[in-house]
Protein backbone atom coordinates (compact mmCIF):
# COMPACT_ATOMS: atom_id res chain seq x y z
CA UNK A 1 0.00 0.00 0.00
CA UNK A 2 1.36 3.37 -0.89
CA UNK A 3 0.31 6.50 0.85
CA UNK A 4 1.37 9.78 -0.60
CA UNK A 5 3.60 11.95 1.54
CA UNK A 6 1.12 14.84 1.95
CA UNK A 7 -1.53 12.45 3.28
CA UNK A 8 0.99 10.97 5.70
CA UNK A 9 2.02 14.40 6.92
CA UNK A 10 -1.60 15.34 7.42
CA UNK A 11 -2.33 12.35 9.65
CA UNK A 12 -1.27 13.72 13.07
CA UNK A 13 -3.11 17.01 12.55
CA UNK A 14 -6.17 15.20 11.23
CA UNK A 15 -6.18 12.79 14.16
CA UNK A 16 -5.88 15.76 16.49
CA UNK A 17 -8.74 17.57 14.80
CA UNK A 18 -11.04 14.56 14.75
CA UNK A 19 -10.17 13.19 18.18
CA UNK A 20 -10.09 16.44 20.09
CA UNK A 21 -12.47 18.64 18.14
CA UNK A 22 -15.00 16.83 15.94
CA UNK A 23 -15.76 13.94 18.32
CA UNK A 24 -16.12 16.04 21.51
CA UNK A 25 -18.30 18.60 19.72
CA UNK A 26 -20.41 15.75 18.36
CA UNK A 27 -20.80 14.35 21.87
CA UNK A 28 -21.85 17.75 23.19
CA UNK A 29 -24.41 18.06 20.44
CA UNK A 30 -25.73 14.52 21.04
CA UNK A 31 -26.06 15.11 24.79
CA UNK A 32 -28.25 18.14 24.09
CA UNK A 33 -31.01 15.87 22.69
CA UNK A 34 -31.52 13.91 25.92
CA UNK A 35 -33.37 14.61 29.15
CA UNK A 36 -31.88 15.47 32.46
CA UNK A 37 -32.35 12.91 35.26
CA UNK A 38 -34.16 14.17 38.36
CA UNK A 39 -30.92 14.17 40.34
CA UNK A 40 -28.65 15.15 37.49
CA UNK A 41 -27.06 12.70 35.16
CA UNK A 42 -28.60 11.95 31.80
CA UNK A 43 -31.86 10.19 31.06
CA UNK A 44 -31.48 8.83 27.52
CA UNK A 45 -34.90 9.85 26.23
CA UNK A 46 -35.01 11.96 23.09
CA UNK A 47 -36.23 15.53 23.56
CA UNK A 48 -35.98 18.94 21.91
CA UNK A 49 -36.86 20.67 25.18
CA UNK A 50 -33.27 21.81 25.79
CA UNK A 51 -33.15 23.76 22.56
CA UNK A 52 -36.55 25.28 23.29
CA UNK A 53 -35.10 26.42 26.62
CA UNK A 54 -32.11 28.07 24.89
CA UNK A 55 -34.47 30.52 23.14
CA UNK A 56 -36.49 31.13 26.32
CA UNK A 57 -36.34 34.93 26.93
CA UNK A 58 -34.33 34.45 30.14
CA UNK A 59 -31.52 32.51 28.47
CA UNK A 60 -31.73 34.29 25.12
CA UNK A 61 -31.35 37.50 27.12
CA UNK A 62 -28.14 36.18 28.65
CA UNK A 63 -26.89 35.40 25.11
CA UNK A 64 -27.69 38.95 23.98
CA UNK A 65 -26.09 40.47 27.05
CA UNK A 66 -22.93 38.38 26.50
CA UNK A 67 -22.85 39.50 22.88
CA UNK A 68 -23.17 43.12 23.99
CA UNK A 69 -20.33 42.83 26.50
CA UNK A 70 -18.15 40.90 24.01
CA UNK A 71 -19.01 43.41 21.26
CA UNK A 72 -18.00 46.37 23.43
CA UNK A 73 -14.74 44.66 24.38
CA UNK A 74 -14.09 43.88 20.69
CA UNK A 75 -14.67 47.47 19.59
CA UNK A 76 -12.33 48.89 22.24
CA UNK A 77 -9.67 46.22 21.57
CA UNK A 78 -9.76 46.89 17.82
CA UNK A 79 -9.36 50.66 18.22
CA UNK A 80 -6.49 50.35 20.72
CA UNK A 81 -4.93 47.35 18.98
CA UNK A 82 -5.04 48.82 15.48
CA UNK A 83 -3.47 52.06 16.69
CA UNK A 84 -0.73 50.12 18.46
CA UNK A 85 -0.10 47.90 15.42
CA UNK A 86 0.03 50.98 13.19
CA UNK A 87 2.54 52.63 15.52
CA UNK A 88 4.69 49.48 15.65
CA UNK A 89 4.60 49.09 11.86
CA UNK A 90 5.70 52.72 11.47
CA UNK A 91 8.80 52.23 13.62
CA UNK A 92 12.29 51.31 12.44
CA UNK A 93 12.36 47.76 11.06
CA UNK A 94 14.91 46.71 13.66
CA UNK A 95 12.77 47.97 16.52
CA UNK A 96 9.53 46.26 15.42
CA UNK A 97 10.28 42.72 16.69
CA UNK A 98 11.20 44.17 20.09
CA UNK A 99 7.92 46.10 20.33
CA UNK A 100 5.92 43.05 19.23
CA UNK A 101 7.73 41.04 21.86
CA UNK A 102 6.57 43.48 24.53
CA UNK A 103 3.03 43.37 23.15
CA UNK A 104 2.80 39.59 23.61
CA UNK A 105 4.86 39.47 26.81
CA UNK A 106 1.78 39.31 29.12
CA UNK A 107 0.84 36.01 27.42
CA UNK A 108 3.77 34.43 29.17
CA UNK A 109 2.00 34.60 32.49
CA UNK A 110 -1.11 32.66 33.39
CA UNK A 111 -4.52 34.03 32.41
CA UNK A 112 -5.82 33.73 35.99
CA UNK A 113 -2.87 35.59 37.43
CA UNK A 114 -3.27 38.38 34.90
CA UNK A 115 -6.95 38.63 35.80
CA UNK A 116 -6.23 38.60 39.54
CA UNK A 117 -3.85 41.49 38.97
CA UNK A 118 -6.86 43.57 37.95
CA UNK A 119 -8.52 42.77 41.29
CA UNK A 120 -5.42 44.12 43.05
CA UNK A 121 -5.59 47.25 40.90
CA UNK A 122 -9.30 47.97 41.01
CA UNK A 123 -10.61 46.95 44.41
CA UNK A 124 -11.82 49.63 46.75
CA UNK A 125 -8.61 49.56 48.78
CA UNK A 126 -6.52 48.76 45.70
CA UNK A 127 -3.63 50.40 43.92
CA UNK A 128 -5.75 52.85 41.94
CA UNK A 129 -7.46 54.12 45.09
CA UNK A 130 -4.11 54.37 46.88
CA UNK A 131 -2.69 56.39 43.98
CA UNK A 132 -5.68 58.72 44.05
CA UNK A 133 -5.19 59.22 47.79
CA UNK A 134 -1.50 59.88 47.23
CA UNK A 135 -2.50 62.68 44.89
CA UNK A 136 -4.66 64.16 47.61
CA UNK A 137 -8.05 62.52 46.91
CA UNK A 138 -9.99 62.19 50.16
CA UNK A 139 -13.51 61.21 49.08
CA UNK A 140 -15.20 57.81 49.10
CA UNK A 141 -13.08 55.29 47.12
CA UNK A 142 -14.55 54.74 43.64
CA UNK A 143 -16.33 51.45 42.91
CA UNK A 144 -14.48 50.02 39.94
CA UNK A 145 -14.21 46.32 40.65
CA UNK A 146 -17.26 44.06 40.16
CA UNK A 147 -18.72 46.31 37.49
CA UNK A 148 -19.40 45.69 33.82
CA UNK A 149 -16.56 48.10 33.08
CA UNK A 150 -14.15 45.89 35.01
CA UNK A 151 -15.29 42.83 33.03
CA UNK A 152 -14.78 44.68 29.73
CA UNK A 153 -11.38 45.99 30.85
CA UNK A 154 -10.30 42.45 31.72
CA UNK A 155 -11.43 41.09 28.34
CA UNK A 156 -9.79 43.92 26.38
CA UNK A 157 -6.55 43.57 28.32
CA UNK A 158 -6.34 39.81 27.88
CA UNK A 159 -7.17 39.68 24.18
CA UNK A 160 -5.55 42.89 22.93
CA UNK A 161 -2.34 41.13 21.77
CA UNK A 162 -4.44 39.09 19.29
CA UNK A 163 -5.61 42.31 17.61
CA UNK A 164 -2.13 43.81 17.58
CA UNK A 165 -0.64 40.71 15.96
CA UNK A 166 -3.51 40.29 13.49
CA UNK A 167 -3.38 43.95 12.41
CA UNK A 168 0.40 44.19 12.40
CA UNK A 169 0.77 41.50 9.73
CA UNK A 170 -1.08 43.36 6.90
CA UNK A 171 0.18 46.77 8.09
CA UNK A 172 3.81 45.70 7.92
CA UNK A 173 3.33 44.16 4.48
CA UNK A 174 1.67 47.29 3.13
CA UNK A 175 3.62 48.71 0.20
CA UNK A 176 4.57 52.29 1.25
CA UNK A 177 4.45 53.31 -2.41
CA UNK A 178 0.66 53.00 -2.35
CA UNK A 179 0.34 55.67 0.32
CA UNK A 180 2.88 57.83 -1.50
CA UNK A 181 0.93 57.49 -4.74
CA UNK A 182 -2.25 58.55 -2.96
CA UNK A 183 -0.60 61.63 -1.54
CA UNK A 184 0.99 62.46 -4.93
CA UNK A 185 -2.48 62.41 -6.39
CA UNK A 186 -3.65 64.92 -3.81
CA UNK A 187 -5.21 62.63 -1.19
CA UNK A 188 -5.06 64.00 2.34
CA UNK A 189 -3.57 61.85 5.10
CA UNK A 190 -7.08 60.94 6.28
CA UNK A 191 -8.29 60.05 2.76
CA UNK A 192 -5.18 57.94 2.23
CA UNK A 193 -5.86 56.10 5.46
CA UNK A 194 -9.56 55.67 4.84
CA UNK A 195 -9.38 54.66 1.18
CA UNK A 196 -6.02 52.89 0.88
CA UNK A 197 -4.65 51.67 4.20
CA UNK A 198 -7.86 50.72 6.02
CA UNK A 199 -9.37 48.63 3.18
CA UNK A 200 -6.09 46.80 2.59
CA UNK A 201 -5.70 45.92 6.27
CA UNK A 202 -9.37 45.04 6.80
CA UNK A 203 -8.72 41.26 6.77
CA UNK A 204 -6.36 41.74 9.73
CA UNK A 205 -8.92 43.81 11.61
CA UNK A 206 -11.63 41.24 10.90
CA UNK A 207 -9.42 38.37 12.07
CA UNK A 208 -8.46 40.22 15.27
CA UNK A 209 -12.05 41.28 15.96
CA UNK A 210 -13.45 37.78 15.50
CA UNK A 211 -10.76 36.38 17.81
CA UNK A 212 -11.61 38.86 20.56
CA UNK A 213 -15.36 38.44 20.13
CA UNK A 214 -15.33 34.64 20.05
CA UNK A 215 -12.98 34.38 23.04
CA UNK A 216 -14.95 37.01 24.99
CA UNK A 217 -18.47 35.74 24.44
CA UNK A 218 -17.58 32.28 25.76
CA UNK A 219 -15.43 33.55 28.61
CA UNK A 220 -16.49 32.67 32.15
CA UNK A 221 -13.39 33.35 34.23
CA UNK A 222 -13.29 37.12 33.73
CA UNK A 223 -16.97 37.78 34.53
CA UNK A 224 -16.69 35.51 37.58
CA UNK A 225 -13.58 37.23 38.96
CA UNK A 226 -13.94 40.84 37.85
CA UNK A 227 -17.76 40.90 37.77
CA UNK A 228 -18.10 39.37 41.23
CA UNK A 229 -20.70 36.96 39.88
CA UNK A 230 -23.09 39.86 39.27
CA UNK A 231 -22.78 39.65 35.51
CA UNK A 232 -23.94 36.37 34.09
CA UNK A 233 -22.40 35.63 30.71
CA UNK A 234 -23.20 32.63 28.59
CA UNK A 235 -19.96 30.92 29.64
CA UNK A 236 -21.00 31.20 33.29
CA UNK A 237 -24.41 29.79 32.47
CA UNK A 238 -22.84 26.77 30.73
CA UNK A 239 -20.46 26.35 33.67
CA UNK A 240 -23.38 26.48 36.11
CA UNK A 241 -25.37 23.87 34.17
CA UNK A 242 -22.47 21.40 34.25
CA UNK A 243 -21.01 22.12 37.67
CA UNK A 244 -23.81 23.36 39.91
CA UNK A 245 -27.25 22.69 38.42
CA UNK A 246 -26.07 19.27 37.13
CA UNK A 247 -28.24 19.78 34.05
CA UNK A 248 -25.78 18.45 31.48
CA UNK A 249 -28.22 18.21 28.55
CA UNK A 250 -29.25 21.86 28.87
CA UNK A 251 -25.61 22.88 29.36
CA UNK A 252 -24.81 20.93 26.19
CA UNK A 253 -27.57 22.69 24.26
CA UNK A 254 -26.25 26.08 25.39
CA UNK A 255 -22.70 25.07 24.47
CA UNK A 256 -23.85 23.83 21.06
CA UNK A 257 -25.61 27.14 20.42
CA UNK A 258 -22.47 29.01 21.43
CA UNK A 259 -20.27 26.85 19.20
CA UNK A 260 -22.70 27.45 16.32
CA UNK A 261 -22.45 31.22 16.79
CA UNK A 262 -18.65 31.03 16.90
CA UNK A 263 -18.44 28.85 13.79
CA UNK A 264 -20.75 31.16 11.90
CA UNK A 265 -18.57 34.15 12.78
CA UNK A 266 -15.38 32.32 11.79
CA UNK A 267 -17.00 31.28 8.48
CA UNK A 268 -18.05 34.86 7.73
CA UNK A 269 -14.59 36.10 8.63
CA UNK A 270 -12.93 33.40 6.52
CA UNK A 271 -15.17 34.23 3.56
CA UNK A 272 -14.53 37.97 3.94
CA UNK A 273 -10.76 37.61 4.13
CA UNK A 274 -10.82 35.22 1.16
CA UNK A 275 -12.72 37.75 -0.91
CA UNK A 276 -10.41 40.53 0.24
CA UNK A 277 -7.26 38.61 -0.64
CA UNK A 278 -8.44 37.72 -4.15
CA UNK A 279 -9.27 41.36 -4.72
CA UNK A 280 -6.29 42.91 -3.02
CA UNK A 281 -4.58 43.96 -6.23
CA UNK A 282 -2.42 47.04 -5.67
CA UNK A 283 -4.94 49.24 -7.45
CA UNK A 284 -8.58 48.95 -6.54
CA UNK A 285 -10.87 50.18 -9.24
CA UNK A 286 -13.88 50.61 -7.00
CA UNK A 287 -12.02 52.47 -4.27
Amino acid sequence: MTTSRPTLLMMPALAWLIGLMVVPCGLVLALAFFQRGIYGGVDYTFTLENFAKVVDPLYAGIFLNSARIAGTATLIAVVIGYAAAYAIASCRRSLQPVLLFFAVLPFWSNYLIRTYAWIVLLNREGLVTQMLRWFGYTGEPPSMLYTEGAVIAGLVYNYLPFVILACYAPLSRLNPELAEASRDLGGSAFTTFRRIILPLTMPGIAAGAVFVFVLSIGNFVTPALLGGGRFQMIGNLVYDQFLTANDWPFGAALAAALIAIMMLLLLVQGYASDRASTRSAPVREDA
Partner: protein, 352 residues
Protein backbone atom coordinates in the same frame (compact mmCIF):
# COMPACT_ATOMS: atom_id res chain seq x y z
CA UNK B 1 -2.93 25.25 36.47
CA UNK B 2 0.55 23.85 36.27
CA UNK B 3 2.53 24.42 33.14
CA UNK B 4 5.03 21.67 32.50
CA UNK B 5 7.08 20.84 29.50
CA UNK B 6 4.76 18.05 28.44
CA UNK B 7 7.13 16.47 25.96
CA UNK B 8 9.76 15.87 28.60
CA UNK B 9 7.30 15.22 31.38
CA UNK B 10 5.42 12.47 29.53
CA UNK B 11 7.81 9.57 30.27
CA UNK B 12 7.98 10.62 33.90
CA UNK B 13 4.19 10.71 34.15
CA UNK B 14 3.91 7.28 32.54
CA UNK B 15 6.45 5.89 34.99
CA UNK B 16 4.56 7.50 37.86
CA UNK B 17 1.26 6.02 36.71
CA UNK B 18 2.79 2.57 36.38
CA UNK B 19 4.25 2.75 39.87
CA UNK B 20 0.96 4.02 41.26
CA UNK B 21 -0.88 1.13 39.58
CA UNK B 22 1.58 -1.38 41.03
CA UNK B 23 1.31 0.16 44.47
CA UNK B 24 -2.47 0.10 44.52
CA UNK B 25 -2.68 -3.57 43.63
CA UNK B 26 -0.28 -4.39 46.47
CA UNK B 27 -2.70 -3.75 49.36
CA UNK B 28 -6.18 -5.16 49.73
CA UNK B 29 -8.30 -2.49 51.43
CA UNK B 30 -7.22 0.73 49.80
CA UNK B 31 -9.97 3.25 50.39
CA UNK B 32 -10.76 6.10 48.05
CA UNK B 33 -12.18 9.02 49.98
CA UNK B 34 -13.40 12.21 48.36
CA UNK B 35 -13.34 15.32 50.52
CA UNK B 36 -12.99 19.07 50.27
CA UNK B 37 -9.42 20.33 50.26
CA UNK B 38 -8.13 20.87 53.79
CA UNK B 39 -11.23 19.38 55.41
CA UNK B 40 -9.34 16.70 57.33
CA UNK B 41 -5.91 16.49 58.95
CA UNK B 42 -3.14 16.22 56.35
CA UNK B 43 -1.70 13.21 58.17
CA UNK B 44 -5.09 11.56 58.81
CA UNK B 45 -4.51 8.72 56.36
CA UNK B 46 -1.14 7.85 57.90
CA UNK B 47 -2.71 7.82 61.35
CA UNK B 48 -5.60 5.72 59.95
CA UNK B 49 -3.13 3.20 58.55
CA UNK B 50 -1.24 3.03 61.85
CA UNK B 51 -4.52 2.52 63.74
CA UNK B 52 -6.29 0.04 61.47
CA UNK B 53 -3.79 -1.27 58.93
CA UNK B 54 -5.94 -0.01 56.07
CA UNK B 55 -4.56 2.40 53.55
CA UNK B 56 -6.49 5.04 51.73
CA UNK B 57 -6.08 7.95 49.42
CA UNK B 58 -7.95 11.23 49.61
CA UNK B 59 -9.10 12.81 46.39
CA UNK B 60 -10.49 16.32 46.46
CA UNK B 61 -13.64 17.93 45.23
CA UNK B 62 -14.24 21.66 45.18
CA UNK B 63 -18.02 21.53 45.48
CA UNK B 64 -20.84 19.11 46.35
CA UNK B 65 -22.07 19.37 42.77
CA UNK B 66 -18.72 18.30 41.38
CA UNK B 67 -18.56 15.05 43.37
CA UNK B 68 -22.28 14.41 42.79
CA UNK B 69 -21.72 14.69 39.03
CA UNK B 70 -18.97 12.08 39.23
CA UNK B 71 -20.93 9.74 41.50
CA UNK B 72 -24.06 9.88 39.36
CA UNK B 73 -22.04 9.28 36.19
CA UNK B 74 -20.22 6.28 37.67
CA UNK B 75 -23.09 4.89 39.73
CA UNK B 76 -20.95 5.48 42.81
CA UNK B 77 -18.13 3.23 41.62
CA UNK B 78 -14.57 4.28 42.36
CA UNK B 79 -15.23 5.77 45.78
CA UNK B 80 -15.66 4.27 49.23
CA UNK B 81 -16.46 7.28 51.41
CA UNK B 82 -17.52 10.75 50.27
CA UNK B 83 -17.99 13.97 52.23
CA UNK B 84 -21.10 15.83 51.06
CA UNK B 85 -23.58 18.29 52.57
CA UNK B 86 -26.82 16.86 53.96
CA UNK B 87 -29.18 17.52 50.99
CA UNK B 88 -26.73 15.71 48.71
CA UNK B 89 -26.44 12.80 51.15
CA UNK B 90 -30.24 12.57 50.89
CA UNK B 91 -30.00 12.45 47.10
CA UNK B 92 -27.39 9.67 47.24
CA UNK B 93 -29.76 7.75 49.49
CA UNK B 94 -32.79 8.32 47.23
CA UNK B 95 -30.77 7.19 44.23
CA UNK B 96 -29.79 4.00 46.05
CA UNK B 97 -26.09 4.88 45.96
CA UNK B 98 -25.63 5.20 49.74
CA UNK B 99 -24.88 2.14 51.87
CA UNK B 100 -26.81 1.64 55.11
CA UNK B 101 -24.64 2.66 58.04
CA UNK B 102 -23.83 -0.37 60.18
CA UNK B 103 -23.79 1.18 63.66
CA UNK B 104 -22.31 -1.95 65.20
CA UNK B 105 -19.11 -1.32 63.24
CA UNK B 106 -18.87 2.32 64.32
CA UNK B 107 -18.70 2.33 68.14
CA UNK B 108 -17.59 5.97 68.14
CA UNK B 109 -21.10 6.98 67.02
CA UNK B 110 -21.61 7.17 70.79
CA UNK B 111 -19.50 10.34 70.77
CA UNK B 112 -22.16 12.22 68.79
CA UNK B 113 -24.52 14.59 70.56
CA UNK B 114 -27.91 12.87 70.86
CA UNK B 115 -29.40 15.81 68.92
CA UNK B 116 -27.12 15.04 65.98
CA UNK B 117 -28.63 11.60 65.59
CA UNK B 118 -32.22 12.84 65.32
CA UNK B 119 -31.97 15.40 62.55
CA UNK B 120 -34.80 15.52 60.06
CA UNK B 121 -32.74 14.72 56.96
CA UNK B 122 -31.60 11.36 58.34
CA UNK B 123 -33.04 10.37 61.74
CA UNK B 124 -30.97 7.62 63.31
CA UNK B 125 -28.05 8.19 60.90
CA UNK B 126 -29.16 5.40 58.60
CA UNK B 127 -27.17 6.49 55.53
CA UNK B 128 -24.90 9.30 56.69
CA UNK B 129 -22.80 10.38 59.64
CA UNK B 130 -22.48 14.12 60.39
CA UNK B 131 -18.94 15.50 60.32
CA UNK B 132 -19.39 19.25 60.83
CA UNK B 133 -22.39 21.48 61.38
CA UNK B 134 -23.19 25.11 61.77
CA UNK B 135 -25.26 28.09 60.82
CA UNK B 136 -25.35 30.73 58.08
CA UNK B 137 -25.66 34.31 59.26
CA UNK B 138 -24.16 37.76 59.03
CA UNK B 139 -20.47 38.42 59.41
CA UNK B 140 -19.62 42.11 59.80
CA UNK B 141 -17.13 44.78 60.76
CA UNK B 142 -18.45 46.07 64.08
CA UNK B 143 -16.09 49.08 63.83
CA UNK B 144 -17.41 50.18 60.42
CA UNK B 145 -21.15 49.70 60.92
CA UNK B 146 -23.25 52.29 62.73
CA UNK B 147 -25.44 49.65 64.33
CA UNK B 148 -25.13 45.91 64.87
CA UNK B 149 -27.13 44.04 62.22
CA UNK B 150 -30.08 42.07 63.59
CA UNK B 151 -32.10 41.07 60.54
CA UNK B 152 -31.58 39.51 57.11
CA UNK B 153 -33.07 42.75 55.80
CA UNK B 154 -30.01 44.63 57.09
CA UNK B 155 -28.18 42.71 54.37
CA UNK B 156 -30.89 42.57 51.70
CA UNK B 157 -32.12 46.16 52.07
CA UNK B 158 -28.97 47.88 53.32
CA UNK B 159 -28.82 51.47 54.54
CA UNK B 160 -27.11 53.93 52.18
CA UNK B 161 -23.74 53.84 53.94
CA UNK B 162 -23.62 50.03 53.64
CA UNK B 163 -24.79 49.80 49.99
CA UNK B 164 -22.13 48.42 47.67
CA UNK B 165 -20.25 46.97 50.63
CA UNK B 166 -22.14 43.72 51.11
CA UNK B 167 -21.66 40.25 49.64
CA UNK B 168 -23.91 37.21 49.48
CA UNK B 169 -23.14 33.53 48.97
CA UNK B 170 -23.46 32.37 45.36
CA UNK B 171 -24.31 28.72 46.03
CA UNK B 172 -28.00 28.37 45.21
CA UNK B 173 -29.37 26.96 48.47
CA UNK B 174 -27.75 29.60 50.69
CA UNK B 175 -28.41 32.46 48.31
CA UNK B 176 -32.09 31.49 48.31
CA UNK B 177 -32.12 30.84 52.07
CA UNK B 178 -31.29 34.49 52.79
CA UNK B 179 -34.41 35.56 50.87
CA UNK B 180 -36.56 32.73 52.20
CA UNK B 181 -35.71 33.57 55.82
CA UNK B 182 -36.12 37.34 55.28
CA UNK B 183 -39.57 36.75 53.78
CA UNK B 184 -40.51 34.47 56.65
CA UNK B 185 -40.51 31.18 54.72
CA UNK B 186 -38.88 27.80 55.27
CA UNK B 187 -35.38 27.30 53.83
CA UNK B 188 -36.95 24.37 51.95
CA UNK B 189 -39.92 26.37 50.61
CA UNK B 190 -41.06 25.29 47.15
CA UNK B 191 -44.42 27.05 46.71
CA UNK B 192 -44.16 28.91 43.36
CA UNK B 193 -45.84 32.12 44.55
CA UNK B 194 -43.66 32.32 47.64
CA UNK B 195 -40.52 31.57 45.60
CA UNK B 196 -41.50 34.33 43.16
CA UNK B 197 -41.53 36.71 46.13
CA UNK B 198 -38.13 35.40 47.27
CA UNK B 199 -36.79 35.91 43.76
CA UNK B 200 -37.90 39.54 43.69
CA UNK B 201 -36.44 40.17 47.15
CA UNK B 202 -33.11 38.80 45.98
CA UNK B 203 -33.13 40.70 42.65
CA UNK B 204 -33.68 43.93 44.60
CA UNK B 205 -30.87 42.96 46.95
CA UNK B 206 -28.53 42.25 44.03
CA UNK B 207 -28.55 45.93 43.04
CA UNK B 208 -26.97 46.84 46.38
CA UNK B 209 -24.31 44.11 46.43
CA UNK B 210 -20.58 44.45 45.97
CA UNK B 211 -20.39 40.86 44.71
CA UNK B 212 -21.53 37.28 45.14
CA UNK B 213 -18.73 35.54 46.95
CA UNK B 214 -18.41 31.99 48.34
CA UNK B 215 -14.72 31.88 49.07
CA UNK B 216 -13.12 35.24 49.84
CA UNK B 217 -15.87 37.19 51.64
CA UNK B 218 -13.98 37.17 54.93
CA UNK B 219 -10.88 38.68 53.33
CA UNK B 220 -13.06 41.41 51.83
CA UNK B 221 -14.16 42.18 55.41
CA UNK B 222 -10.57 42.23 56.60
CA UNK B 223 -9.54 44.66 53.83
CA UNK B 224 -12.64 46.79 54.42
CA UNK B 225 -13.92 46.39 50.86
CA UNK B 226 -17.04 44.89 52.41
CA UNK B 227 -18.53 45.64 55.82
CA UNK B 228 -21.42 43.16 55.99
CA UNK B 229 -21.51 39.73 54.34
CA UNK B 230 -23.58 36.56 54.35
CA UNK B 231 -21.32 33.88 55.78
CA UNK B 232 -21.07 30.38 57.15
CA UNK B 233 -20.13 30.71 60.82
CA UNK B 234 -16.89 28.75 60.39
CA UNK B 235 -15.72 30.99 57.54
CA UNK B 236 -16.55 34.12 59.49
CA UNK B 237 -14.12 32.77 62.07
CA UNK B 238 -11.30 33.06 59.51
CA UNK B 239 -12.02 36.80 59.37
CA UNK B 240 -12.32 37.05 63.16
CA UNK B 241 -8.90 35.41 63.42
CA UNK B 242 -7.39 38.28 61.44
CA UNK B 243 -9.39 41.16 62.88
CA UNK B 244 -11.13 41.03 66.24
CA UNK B 245 -13.59 43.75 65.14
CA UNK B 246 -15.23 41.20 62.87
CA UNK B 247 -18.29 39.63 64.49
CA UNK B 248 -20.88 36.99 63.65
CA UNK B 249 -24.60 37.15 64.33
CA UNK B 250 -27.59 34.98 63.47
CA UNK B 251 -30.38 37.31 62.32
CA UNK B 252 -33.64 37.29 64.27
CA UNK B 253 -35.43 35.50 61.39
CA UNK B 254 -33.09 32.54 61.96
CA UNK B 255 -30.63 30.48 59.97
CA UNK B 256 -30.46 27.17 58.26
CA UNK B 257 -28.67 24.32 60.01
CA UNK B 258 -26.11 22.99 57.56
CA UNK B 259 -24.31 19.69 57.91
CA UNK B 260 -21.44 18.14 56.05
CA UNK B 261 -21.66 14.40 56.30
CA UNK B 262 -19.77 11.20 55.54
CA UNK B 263 -21.50 8.68 53.28
CA UNK B 264 -20.35 5.15 52.45
CA UNK B 265 -21.16 4.12 48.90
CA UNK B 266 -23.11 0.99 48.10
CA UNK B 267 -20.66 0.29 45.26
CA UNK B 268 -17.72 0.25 47.67
CA UNK B 269 -15.86 -3.05 47.83
CA UNK B 270 -14.27 -2.19 51.16
CA UNK B 271 -17.29 -1.42 53.31
CA UNK B 272 -15.82 -2.72 56.55
CA UNK B 273 -12.75 -0.56 56.07
CA UNK B 274 -15.01 2.36 55.13
CA UNK B 275 -16.90 2.00 58.42
CA UNK B 276 -13.57 1.76 60.20
CA UNK B 277 -12.59 5.02 58.56
CA UNK B 278 -15.76 6.74 59.79
CA UNK B 279 -15.16 5.33 63.24
CA UNK B 280 -11.61 6.69 63.08
CA UNK B 281 -12.86 10.17 62.11
CA UNK B 282 -15.37 10.13 64.98
CA UNK B 283 -12.61 9.48 67.49
CA UNK B 284 -12.67 12.49 69.87
CA UNK B 285 -9.10 13.48 69.08
CA UNK B 286 -9.40 13.18 65.32
CA UNK B 287 -12.75 14.94 65.19
CA UNK B 288 -11.43 17.76 67.40
CA UNK B 289 -8.86 18.44 64.68
CA UNK B 290 -11.65 19.75 62.43
CA UNK B 291 -12.98 22.07 65.12
CA UNK B 292 -9.56 23.43 66.01
CA UNK B 293 -8.22 23.80 62.50
CA UNK B 294 -11.14 24.57 60.24
CA UNK B 295 -13.05 26.34 63.04
CA UNK B 296 -16.30 24.54 62.30
CA UNK B 297 -18.37 23.09 65.09
CA UNK B 298 -18.41 19.30 65.09
CA UNK B 299 -21.37 17.26 66.31
CA UNK B 300 -19.08 15.23 68.55
CA UNK B 301 -19.57 15.88 72.26
CA UNK B 302 -16.31 14.26 73.32
CA UNK B 303 -14.38 16.29 70.73
CA UNK B 304 -16.07 19.60 71.60
CA UNK B 305 -15.51 19.02 75.33
CA UNK B 306 -11.81 18.54 74.67
CA UNK B 307 -11.35 21.91 72.95
CA UNK B 308 -9.23 24.55 74.71
CA UNK B 309 -11.34 27.29 76.34
CA UNK B 310 -9.50 30.06 74.45
CA UNK B 311 -11.02 28.83 71.19
CA UNK B 312 -14.53 29.89 72.16
CA UNK B 313 -13.27 33.15 73.66
CA UNK B 314 -11.74 34.12 70.31
CA UNK B 315 -14.52 32.59 68.22
CA UNK B 316 -17.73 32.93 70.25
CA UNK B 317 -19.83 30.99 67.72
CA UNK B 318 -17.78 27.86 68.47
CA UNK B 319 -19.51 27.80 71.86
CA UNK B 320 -23.05 27.96 70.45
CA UNK B 321 -25.16 25.57 72.57
CA UNK B 322 -26.27 22.46 70.70
CA UNK B 323 -29.96 22.95 71.50
CA UNK B 324 -29.77 26.45 70.00
CA UNK B 325 -28.07 25.10 66.90
CA UNK B 326 -30.54 22.30 66.31
CA UNK B 327 -33.61 24.51 66.58
CA UNK B 328 -32.83 25.77 63.07
CA UNK B 329 -34.21 24.01 60.04
CA UNK B 330 -31.92 21.57 58.21
CA UNK B 331 -31.50 22.12 54.45
CA UNK B 332 -33.35 19.24 52.78
CA UNK B 333 -33.29 17.82 49.29
CA UNK B 334 -36.24 19.45 47.52
CA UNK B 335 -36.41 16.89 44.68
CA UNK B 336 -37.98 18.15 41.45
CA UNK B 337 -38.16 21.69 42.85
CA UNK B 338 -34.37 21.86 42.56
CA UNK B 339 -34.82 22.65 38.84
CA UNK B 340 -37.00 25.62 39.75
CA UNK B 341 -34.35 26.69 42.29
CA UNK B 342 -31.71 26.56 39.54
CA UNK B 343 -33.85 28.64 37.24
CA UNK B 344 -34.58 31.24 39.91
CA UNK B 345 -30.88 31.55 40.68
CA UNK B 346 -30.17 32.00 36.94
CA UNK B 347 -32.82 34.71 36.80
CA UNK B 348 -31.33 36.50 39.80
CA UNK B 349 -27.82 36.31 38.41
CA UNK B 350 -28.93 37.49 34.95
CA UNK B 351 -31.01 40.37 36.32
CA UNK B 352 -29.56 43.76 35.46
Amino acid sequence: MKNTNSRRAAPAILLGLTLAALASTASAANLVISNWDGYMAPDAMEAFKAATGNTGEVVKHATNEEIMGKLIASGGKGYDVVFVSSPFAEVLNKMGLAETIDASKIPNLANLYPEATKLAYDPGNTFSVPYTWGTTGLCYRSDLLKAEPTSWNDLLKPSDDVKGKTTMLATDRWLLAAGQLADGFSVNETDPAKMEQVKNTLIDAKKTLLAYDDTTFYSKLVSGEAVLVQAWDGWCNYGIGENADIKYVIPKEGSDLWLDTMVVLKASENKDAAFEFINFMLDAKNHAWAAENILYKVPNKAAMDSLPAELSTTYPNMAMPVDELTKYEVLRDVGEAQREYSRIVSEIKAAQ
